[in-house]
Symmetry: C2
Subunit: 241 residues, 2 copies
């Protein structure tokens, strides 16, 4: 029986006090570590449970925060916060580095074996850590085929896997092709999985709030995208047990 | 220890005598069955070993033949045979149905639980079986994002997964988008994985013969594409043990 220990972590980033969720596998040894970035509305229990699930698999996992502990139920309020953030790679990197600092302070986390995965805005942050030259073993994103500043993708030194819905109006075919072209031109080891019929945020169960047009849960692809993330980690960041 | 039994099977199709490779898992019970279609040059030991690997996982697996026992080492000779075949859905379906008949004659194979996977030309045949309305649990193709006759994709009633190299000149971005559009319009449960930097036939080790431009082995993506096929079968065609 695997026992997971969880801890709420407060730390400064982006002018806010972030409230992350750290999950540790049983034992006392150092483990490979995974950052998990949430979508625009913020960190909620759904992403916290992803960290717990990765800890069950043997990883130190930090579901990091992007909104200073807030979870935006109003789409307009969410967009007002997230749109300028997505346009500012330095702010995104700051949020990612602050999350890495949390791992750095955790004796169970092996910083030499770290991966960054994320959803939507959190995925864009994972990619920006790669474009900033951070030594990662893998980058995985769902709903985040975001491109970066010219030339910086060449700093990505690990495999990149991205998953996106075919009917995602926020990440349309042109955006997918632009992402693919950026990765390919930079010589990155990349993969892109398109989930047929899925819309934006397809990975996330519908919660009781207004959703934007083009946003819908797709339970089957959601499960597949999670399996694809776990497979990426199994390949690139094996847990030595 | 799992013991696999293999058998060479001769059967008529497409005016030829096909020479397939049937692999059976240990035991005497009925098992889910998988067709494995080879690429244009034909069936060789590489695809025969895929059937063996699936039998180790518990499937009855038939690596079927498309060229009457021949393996074309000359690309021009291969194209002369394969190009008209790929333009003729009925011929492709005939080859696929003949392979299904081999399974039908095998008491270990459970025809009610069957999947078709294939590579290149063999993948196009797997898709045509779906467009012909064959009751399959999954269709998986590598290097075969081939489109079919208008309207017929609506007969596909199982999940479809397709993997293709981003730098495949035979399956360029427009072809990928056309395949995606066909599947989406038909309401198929589909996925498409693009392997960054991979060319055509990336899944196949380079063999000692002339290869066409745009064809190259990519060992890492080859391994991933095989894992993706195995994952598709695990999801859609579980082996009840």
């Amino acid at each position: 029986m695997t026992t997971v220990t969880t801890r709420t972590v407060e730390y400064p980033a982006d002018g806010l006090t972030m409230i992350g969720h750290l999950a540790l596998p049983a034992g006392v040894d150092r483990r490979p570590a995974v950052l998990i970035g949430p979508e625009g509305p913020g960190l909620n229990d759904f992403q916290r449970r992803r960290a717990d699930a990765l800890a069950v698999l043997g990883y130190v996992a930090l579901a990091f925060d992007i909104n200073g502990g807030r979870w935006f139920s109003d789409p307009q309020e969410m967009l007002a916060h997230v749109t300028p953030l997505l346009a500012d790679p330095d702010r995104m990197r700051g949020i990612g580095h602050a999350a890495l600092d949390v791992l750095r302070a955790e004796p169970r986390a092996d910083l030499a074996r770290t991966a960054a995965v994320g959803y939507g805005t959190g995925g864009a942050i994972a990619l920006e850590l790669g474009r900033d030259g951070v030594d990662l073993r893998a980058i995985g994103t769902v709903n985040a085929v975001t491109t970066g500043r010219p030339g910086e993708a060449a700093r990505i030194r690990c495999p990149v896997w991205a998953g996106v819905g075919s009917e995602d109006p926020i990440m349309p075919a042109e955006q997918r092709e632009a992402f693919a072209a950026e990765m390919q031109a930079a010589g990155v080891d990349w993969r892109l999985t398109v989930y047929g019929g899925a819309q934006h945020a397809f990975h996330h169960p519908t919660v009781g709030h207004t959703v934007l047009p083009g946003v819908a849960h797709h339970p089957q692809h959601a499960q597949r995208a999670w399996r694809d993330i776990v497979a990426l980690l199994a390949e690139c960041l094996p847990v030595a047990d």
